[in-house]
Each structure stands twice: as structure tokens, then as C-alpha cells.
């Protein structure tokens, strides 16, 4: 009996030591080696660019930029001054400019995971002064929205919301409803 107890005790003690060690190992699984994690390395998008084209020549670029991320200063948004009564091509790009010495283009990552993303365009409380048709599709032939054509009505102004929906786990269905918003920018617009 004594011997049984002795083994039981040793087993129990080693079990605790063992689990403690596992915990330590878990701690060190960090993307860049633990302690030198800085908030700036968090995956962020600071900048949304909207570029209008005419006959494949870039015309204007409108930006939303929030270089210091959440909190701090509010983001700065350009007004979309675009031609009325016309149809033209628009391309979006996404940047991480949080480190001025290392500006990263995030557009390729979104394109690579096109089947998990969907970009929605919507005039807020208006009468569809801007309508959007999609030129790019994912592998399942569902719209993506980085490359679009915009058709505008006669002169008007209002707010145009561009939303990047993250629709992972097979929920993407070509509408805005599934998933959640990674980016949501309200651009004031003036059709002139």
C-alpha cells in the first residue's frame, strides 16, 4: 500500500509540473517571438483610396485616411467630386500607412481572398444618385467590388457609403447582409 501511495504521489506531482510546462510553451507561440510585439504590427487598414478612370486613364483619387488607428484623431475624408450624368470606371485600393517607413498595400490580400469579401456601395437616404455595377468576381462567380463602373444621375449631393464586408466561412451570397464590416466609410459626394 505504501508503495502504491508513493507512486500515486509522484504521478500527481509530475502531472502538475508537466502541465505547467505546457502552459509555458503556449505562451511563446506568438507571431514574432513574444515580447517584441508592438501594436503597430496588428493587421490594420488605415487608408481607402477611390480612383476614377476615364478611358483607362486615372482622373481623380479620393481618400479616407486614419493614420493613428482607432481612437486618437478622427479619420479625414475627401469629398467625392465626380461628374454628373455619366458612367465611368472606379478602382479601390487599401493601404496600411501606420508606419510611414513601411507602407503596405492590402489590396492584393483582399483579392487573394475574394471569396470571403464583398464591397457594398450605397447612397445614404438618397434616390440611388450613384448606381454601381461590378466588373470583378470571385472563384464562385460572386461579385467582389474592387473594380466597378459607376453611373451617376444629374447634379446632386449626399453621402455615399462604401463597406468592405468580411464574409468568411462560406456565408458569402452576393449580398451585403452576411458577415461583418471590416471597413465602413461615408464619403460626402457632389455630382457636378
Amino acid at each position: 500500500m505504501k508503495r502504491f501511495f508513493k507512486y500515486a504521489f509522484v504521478f500527481a506531482l509530475s502531472a502538475s509540473v508537466f502541465t505547467a510546462c505546457t502552459d509555458d510553451d503556449d505562451d511563446s507561440v506568438t507571431p514574432n517571438g513574444g515580447t517584441n510585439v508592438t501594436p503597430n504590427e496588428e493587421e490594420v487598414i488605415t487608408t481607402l483610396g477611390v480612383v476614377t478612370f476615364s478611358n483607362q486613364v486615372a482622373q481623380d483619387t479620393f481618400l479616407f485616411r486614419d493614420l493613428d488607428g482607432d481612437g486618437g484623431n478622427d479619420g479625414v475624408v475627401d469629398t467625392l467630386r465626380i461628374p454628373a450624368d455619366s458612367t465611368f470606371n472606379v478602382q479601390l485600393y487599401f493601404l496600411d500607412e501606420s508606419d510611414p517607413n513601411d507602407i503596405e498595400n492590402k489590396t492584393a490580400e483582399i483579392l487573394a481572398e475574394a471569396d470571403e469579401h464583398f464591397i457594398c456601395y450605397e447612397v445614404q437616404g438618397g434616390n440611388n444618385e450613384i448606381t454601381v455595377s461590378y466588373n470583378d468576381q470571385d472563384a464562385n462567380n460572386l461579385d467582389l467590388g474592387i473594380d466597378t463602373d459607376w453611373t451617376t444621375s444629374s447634379s446632386a449631393n449626399g453621402t455615399f457609403r462604401i463597406t468592405l464586408r468580411h464574409q468568411d466561412g462560406g456565408v458569402k451570397d452576393g449580398t451585403c447582409a452576411p458577415g461583418d464590416s471590416d471597413i465602413e466609410v461615408d464619403f460626402p459626394f457632389v455630382l457636378q
Binding site: G34, G69, D70, T163, E184
Partner: protein, 771 residues
């Protein structure tokens, strides 16, 4: 000089008078015995009232009082878990007197208030009955604790629950697990205590700020989670617990073995392990996608009892994965508003039944290791020393994987924290002197928190603290008074990674806690308890440093390093007793907190992810008042009626508004019928229960994300059967919760914006004791 000479003469005179009484040589001795099972009660305190004579009985319950004069005495004998007893003794010669005490812990139908029966006499303390412990087995620990009248839970879905005492939670409620402050990421609303409820047997709550012994800052209250005593007789005992629930097809079971080997009579041991697995929660109209839970825990306890010392070693490991309902994960304010506007979750967030836990989920590991040593001295009282180490790992996986292909392949948590803490405690209980029992204690702790993820909602920090306290209790014929004071010093050493490099900040806080309270018996049937306490709570890490987006609530939260500590003044009182056939318990409290640390709304911040409501931690003045009522009435023969009602008011005095997340008024009623059984030890009962929760009407529109949900009522029923066959004890209960499949949402659930609560649930519980 002349004064001290005078004093000396008086002292000498007293001394000579005492010496002069030659016949004061009498001896009173005997054993303290449990009235129910005739077992010896070790270390009971035996005191002669209004004299300096008092001792603690030894490990076998033996006591001896020497040098007594003949005369009439009143002897008070007290033991943990027992009603103190007063016995009149006429001493003419040496006397051998065995003292029988009524021990309560095993009794099933006890009324919950036990404060007058154990060591925390100066505060309002309530314990969960063993029957309620069994009835809540398999549920999160906070939901078990909530069976105490006046204790609520703050929930995040159905699997994450935190205890709410008198309207306080998080940093203001402390959990003492096996005698050690539970150290986890207690600051977060969705950070439930990482404790296996199957590993313990006794759950009690100290209401209010007066618990001086258990650390500072717990101005809401303290939850005590304690194991049952180790076995004192040789042989092996076993306990098997099992619970099955229909709603989320949950299964939980626990096995405990304990005993003592004949060859090693001084050593007691216990090992215990539990498993739990549940799938998606079903509301009356849909399943909540990804709301499963799984748990794997084990623990062991070793105890060694020597002549005048005991040693204990305890280890426990808690492992859990908790799915977060996918419909509650939102991107920004627009998503949140859309979710609130919808009556039910999107189709994609309602799915059939599944046990699978996917992103978003939480992964939790908690480990506790503790050694404890107690020494009993003849003339110096008893000393307790303990040292413990805790690891806490919290990993939160977001809904979506990162876009970056490399990060994506790692599949790491978006938010990950590890906490390592060491706590050393010393407690010295002096021998009683003139009916006064005094103890001194000290605590030292070292807590280190490390962030292992990109998201650093709070920074890395190291917290070092020391505390000292003293508690004195004076026993009277009809009651006790207690005075406790405590001083704590706290150093917070913070390391922040910013764009301009690492910033180190050091902040020091001190805190004073004081409590004066006690109880008094009024007549034969009534006891009145009251305490006045003053407590200070230094700001916690999240209040000082939180910075960024809080997922789930889609809000930005910012700490402030300029926060003042909280200063709370509270009065708690409780009246319990019997009026004719009616058992009554009435608690009431008022607490005013200067510089109450509060998350105050600051409007909307615009980011590229959209708009988010923004909150700042601020000092305001708060006022909390509440009352909890409970009664029990034997209506007719075997039928009894139990009822309770809870009321709570909490105000922000600075902006003259109501505070958020305060439970609304609620009323419970239980009708219970006990069947007559042929065998005396068998018990069969049927109960019907009803809960009515009022809508929280005490709110301000500006403070709330959405108005509180409407009132609701729940019906339930339970059939329970207890029996013993041969050497086995059985407890079986079949319980139906939300029997009418009511569609409702609760204000105290953070997922009230996204989903209805759990629907009908049939629970089957079985407990087998190998005696």
C-alpha cells in the same frame, strides 16, 4: 513617573489577590463531539464567558481549562459550521465534561444564512445549501453562486457568467478559491471565473465591503469556494456526479475519490476530475450558431495531520473552450444597430444542432498550486501559512482569420494574455483573552501579466502588493462584535509599447479597509446582524490603461492614469428568524462610493472600420441601495412555500443618472411537496417554481446601447429523490427549466441585442456517494 508606580501597585494588588485564592486550582476538561455522528470536532474554541479562560481544543477535540475557581460559569463552545452553544456550568471540583455540538454542513434542508455559525461573524455571509449545489451542478460557477438570494449573474450568452453581488461585479467582487484569491483576467465582462464547480463542496458569499481577511478592493463582496474537509477515517470513499441537459445536449460528469490508508493514518487524499461538453444553445425559435462549450478539469488535495500541525497540498487545472455565438460578433456601430433592429439573428447565425466550436471562441487554462501549513500552539494560538502559484491563460479567437497569408496559416488567437501570480499568506489566531479572539494576518503577492498578441487592449504589467490586517471578535452571551482593519500597498509597473518605443510607468496605491460589525440574538428565534465598513479600491489595470476596441460591444474604451481610488462607505444588515411558522430573512444595504470608477459614454469616434461609440473610465460618485427578502412557510402538512424578492437601486450622483448593468427587481416562488416515504432516509419531493423579472426601468437612454428588454416570467418544475441502498447514497433530480418555452431576453445578458435566451431545458442529475 508617579502614575506608572501607581499602576504597578494596582497590578501587584490584582496579582496578589489572584494568588491569594488558593482554591482556584480546579480543572475542566473533556471532548468536543459532533451531535449527529459522534465524531470528534477538532480545534473547536472553548471559552468561559467574562473570564480570561479560553482554549482551542486539539485535533481530537480534547480541551482542558486549568486554574479555575469554584463558581458558576457560562461556557461558550464554537466550531466552524456549527451553532455556538452556551452551557451553564457549576464548578465545585474537577470536572470532566463532553460538549456536544450540532454540526450543520451535511444537512440538506437548511436555511441559507450561516454567518453566525462560522468564522466570518462581522459580516453578512450566506451559504448555498447542499441541495442547491446539487441542483446547479454542471452549470458555470457563477450560476451556482446565484442561487444565493440577492446574487445575480452578468452573462455573455449562456456559457459565460460572472457573479454580481449587490450590483457589483468584475474588479469589485473577489473569488477565494480554496483559500486563495482567484487571479484571472477578472476585469472583463466576458471573462468568467476559471474554476471547476465540481472540485468544491461549499459556496458562500460575503455581501458588502467588510471582508477584511480576504484582500482589499472587493467592495461588492467576496465569493468563498471551499472544498469539503478531507476524510478522517480510513478507507476509500467515492462520489460520482453527472448531469445531462436536453437543450444544448450538454453532458457533464465528475468523479472524486478520497480516503486514507490504514498504513498511513495521518495522510488524507482526494483526487477529482470532470468533463463537460455542450453544443449549440436552442432558443424557442432557433439554435445559436457556435454556442457550444467544452471543459476538462482535474484536481487533487493531500492533507497531513500531525499532533499539533497540519499540512495541505492542492493542485487544480481548468481547461475550457467556449464558443461565442456568431451572431454576436459585429464589425461596427452600423452592424450593431442592424442587429438590434432585427428581431432574430441572421439566417447564417441560426443553424441546426452542432457540437463544433469554431471561431469566434475563447480558450482558457487556469492552474492553481497551493501549499498550506497550520500549526497549533499551546499558548500562542494557531498559525496558518500558505503559498500559492496560479497560471491563467486567456486566448480569444476572432471571427475572421487575418488576411495576411502568413498570419492566417498560424491560426493564432487575436487576443492572448497570460497571467502568472504568486500569493503568500500568513494568519495568526491568538488564544482567546477575556472572550476576545484576535487574529493578525499578512498577504504578499506578485502578479505578472503578459500580452502575447498583436491586439493589446491592456498593457503588460507587474503588480506587487502587500497587505496587513487584524480582526478582533468579542463574544457575548447573546452575540458577537467584530472589528477588522486592513492596510494594503499596491505597486503597478506597466510596460507599454508605443510608436515612440517602450514606455514604463510606475504607480503606487494604498488602501485602507475597516469593518465594525456583529450579530445579536433577539429572543430564541431571531438573529440580527449589522456591519459598517469603509473600503478603498485602487483602480485596476483596465481602468487605468485600456485602450482600443472592445469586440462584441463594438465600443472603444479608454483608461485614464489620473483615476483616483474608490472610497466606499457601506452599511449592511440582516435579520433572520422565525415568526410563528414563517421563516424569514431580510437583508438590506446602503453603499456610497466616492470616486466610483465608471465607464462613461463620450459620443462617437470615426474610424476606417466605421463609427464606434467611445467610452472613458472616469471617477463619479455612486450610491447603491438594495434589499433582499426571503421567506419559507409550511403551508399544509407536506407542502411548503418559499419566496424571495430582490430590489436594487444604483445611481451616478455626479451626473444624476442611473448606472448601467444593474439587475432589475425579481421575485421567485417555489411550492414544494414532500411525499411520505416508508423508509425514513428516503426523500421524494416535487416542486413548482416561478420567476418574475421586471423590466429594468431605472435607466438613462444616453447610457444604454438599446433600451432594456421587457419583463418576463419563467415556470419550472423539479422532481428529486434521495435514497441510500447498502453502502451507496443516491441523489436524483429531474428538472424542467423554462417549461413554457418562453421567448425572452435578459437585461443582464450582454447578448441581449443579438439573441433570445435559452428555451425549454430538461435536466437530469445523478449523484452517487460510495459511503
Amino acid at each position: 513617573m508617579s502614575k506608572s508606580i501607581g499602576l504597578l501597585i494596582i497590578l501587584l494588588a490584582i496579582y496578589s489577590i489572584t494568588l491569594g485564592q488558593d482554591n482556584c486550582q480546579l480543572k475542566l476538561s473533556g471532548q468536543v463531539i459532533d451531535e449527529h455522528d459522534q465524531s470528534a470536532l477538532s480545534y473547536a474554541s472553548v471559552q468561559l464567558l467574562n473570564t480570561t479562560h479560553g482554549v482551542s481544543a486539539d485535533g481530537l477535540g480534547k480541551y482542558e481549562l486549568k486554574g479555575l475557581c469554584p463558581g458558576n460559569y457560562q461556557l461558550v463552545v464554537a466550531h466552524l459550521g456549527c451553532e455556538p452553544d452556551t452551557i451553564k456550568v457549576k464548578l465545585e471540583k474537577n470536572l470532566q465534561l463532553d460538549l456536544f455540538l450540532e454540526h450543520h454542513t451535511e444537512e440538506l434542508e437548511q436555511v441559507t444564512i450561516e454567518s453566525s455559525k462560522d468564522k466570518d461573524q462581522g459580516v453578512v455571509k450566506q451559504r448555498i445549501s447542499q441541495e442547491d449545489v446539487f441542483r446547479k451542478s454542471g452549470l458555470p460557477i457563477a450560476q451556482m453562486i446565484a442561487s444565493i438570494n440577492g446574487v445575480n449573474t452578468l452573462n455573455t450568452g449562456s456559457n459565460i457568467s460572472k457573479p454580481v453581488i449587490q450590483g457589483f461585479t468584475n474588479n469589485r467582487v473577489q473569488i477565494l478559491n480554496h483559500g486563495v484569491e482567484h487571479q484571472g483576467q477578472n476585469w472583463g465582462d466576458e471573462h468568467a471565473p476559471e474554476i471547476d464547480p465540481f472540485a468544491s463542496a461549499s459556496y458562500s458569499v460575503i455581501k458588502g465591503a467588510g471582508a477584511v481577511r480576504y484582500g482589499n478592493g472587493a467592495i461588492g463582496g467576496v465569493v468563498l469556494v471551499e472544498p469539503k474537509p478531507l476524510p478522517q477515517t480510513a478507507g476509500i470513499k467515492a462520489e460520482f456526479n453527472s448531469m445531462l441537459a436536453s437543450n444544448n445536449r450538454l453532458g457533464a460528469s465528475s468523479l472524486m475519490l478520497e480516503g486514507k490508508f490504514k498504513a498511513l493514518p495521518r495522510l488524507s487524499w482526494r483526487i477529482q476530475g470532470s468533463l463537460k461538453k455542450g453544443g449549440n444553445i436552442r432558443t424557442p425559435n432557433y439554435y445559436q450558431r457556435n454556442s457550444g462549450v467544452e471543459e476538462f478539469n482535474y484536481s487533487y488535495l493531500l492533507g497531513y495531520t500531525a499532533e499539533n500541525w497540519t499540512a495541505k497540498l492542492h493542485y487544480s487545472l481548468f481547461n475550457s473552450n467556449v464558443g461565442i455565438f456568431s451572431g454576436a460578433h459585429i464589425g461596427n456601430l452600423t452592424d450593431l444597430q442592424k442587429a438590434i433592429a432585427m428581431n432574430e439573428p441572421r439566417e447564417q447565425d441560426q443553424e441546426g444542432f452542432s457540437y463544433e466550436i469554431r471561431r469566434p471562441y475563447q480558450r482558457l487554462i487556469h492552474e492553481l498550486f497551493k501549499v498550506e501549513f497550520k500549526r497549533y500552539f499551546d499558548k500562542m494560538g494557531q498559525v496558518e501559512l500558505s503559498l500559492s502559484r496560479q497560471f491563467n491563460i486567456r486566448e480569444e479567437f476572432d471571427r475572421g482569420l487575418p488576411r495576411d497569408p502568413f498570419l492566417r496559416s498560424l491560426n493564432i488567437p487575436e487576443f492572448s494574455l497570460s497571467l502568472e501570480s504568486y500569493v503568500a499568506q500568513a494568519h495568526w489566531q491568538l488564544p482567546a483573552w477575556r472572550n476576545i479572539q484576535t487574529s493578525f494576518g499578512a498577504t504578499a503577492k506578485n502578479i505578472e501579466n503578459t500580452i502575447n498578441s498583436f491586439i493589446d487592449f491592456i498593457p503588460d504589467y507587474k503588480n506587487q502588493a502587500i497587505g496587513f490586517y487584524s480582526i478582533s471578535t468579542k463574544t457575548y452571551l447573546k452575540g458577537q462584535v467584530e472589528l477588522g482593519v486592513r492596510y494594503d500597498q499596491n505597486q503597478m509597473d506597466v510596460k507599454q509599447y508605443t510608436q515612440s518605443g517602450i514606455v514604463r510607468t510606475e504607480q503606487d496605491f494604498t488602501a485602507i479597509t475597516a469593518n465594525f460589525g456583529g450579530y445579536r440574538r433577539l429572543g430564541k428565534e431571531w438573529t440580527w446582524k449589522a456591519n459598517v465598513s469603509y473600503a478603498e479600491r485602487p483602480p485596476a489595470i483596465n481602468e487605468l490603461y485600456s485602450d482600443g476596441l472592445h469586440h462584441g460591444t463594438a465600443s472603444l474604451e479608454f483608461g485614464s492614469q489620473d483615476l483616483e481610488k474608490e472610497k466606499a462607505l457601506a452599511v449592511n444588515t440582516a435579520l433572520e428568524g422565525k415568526w410563528k411558522k414563517l421563516d424569514l430573512e431580510i437583508d438590506a444595504f446602503v453603499q456610497r462610493i466616492d470616486d466610483f470608477i465608471y465607464l462613461s459614454p463620450q459620443g462617437v469616434d470615426l474610424t476606417i472600420r466605421g463609427a464606434f461609440p467611445s467610452f472613458d473610465w472616469m471617477n463619479v460618485d455612486g450610491l447603491f441601495r438594495g434589499t433582499d427578502l426571503k421567506f419559507k412557510h409550511p403551508v399544509y402538512e407536506s407542502l411548503s412555500w418559499e419566496g424571495s424578492a430582490n430590489f436594487l437601486w444604483a445611481n451616478d450622483l455626479t451626473s444624476n443618472s442611473f448606472l448601467v448593468n444593474i439587475p432589475s427587481n425579481r421575485y421567485r416562488n417555489v411550492l414544494r411537496y414532500r411525499f411520505d416515504m416508508k423508509r425514513k432516509k428516503d426523500e421524494l419531493s416535487l416542486e413548482l417554481n416561478h420567476l418574475f423579472v421586471q423590466r429594468q426601468e431605472r435607466f438613462d437612454v444616453e447610457e444604454e446601447i438599446a433600451p432594456p428588454p421587457p419583463a418576463y416570467q419563467l415556470m419550472g418544475t423539479a422532481l428529486s429523490y434521495n435514497t441510500t441502498r447498502k453502502k451507496l447514497g443516491y441523489q436524483i433530480a429531474l428538472q424542467l427549466n423554462n417549461a413554457l418555452n418562453e421567448v425572452y431576453r435578459d437585461y443582464m445578458n450582454r447578448f441581449r441585442f443579438y439573441t433570445d435566451e435559452q428555451g425549454l431545458d430538461l435536466q437530469l442529475r445523478l449523484k452517487i456517494n460510495l459511503l
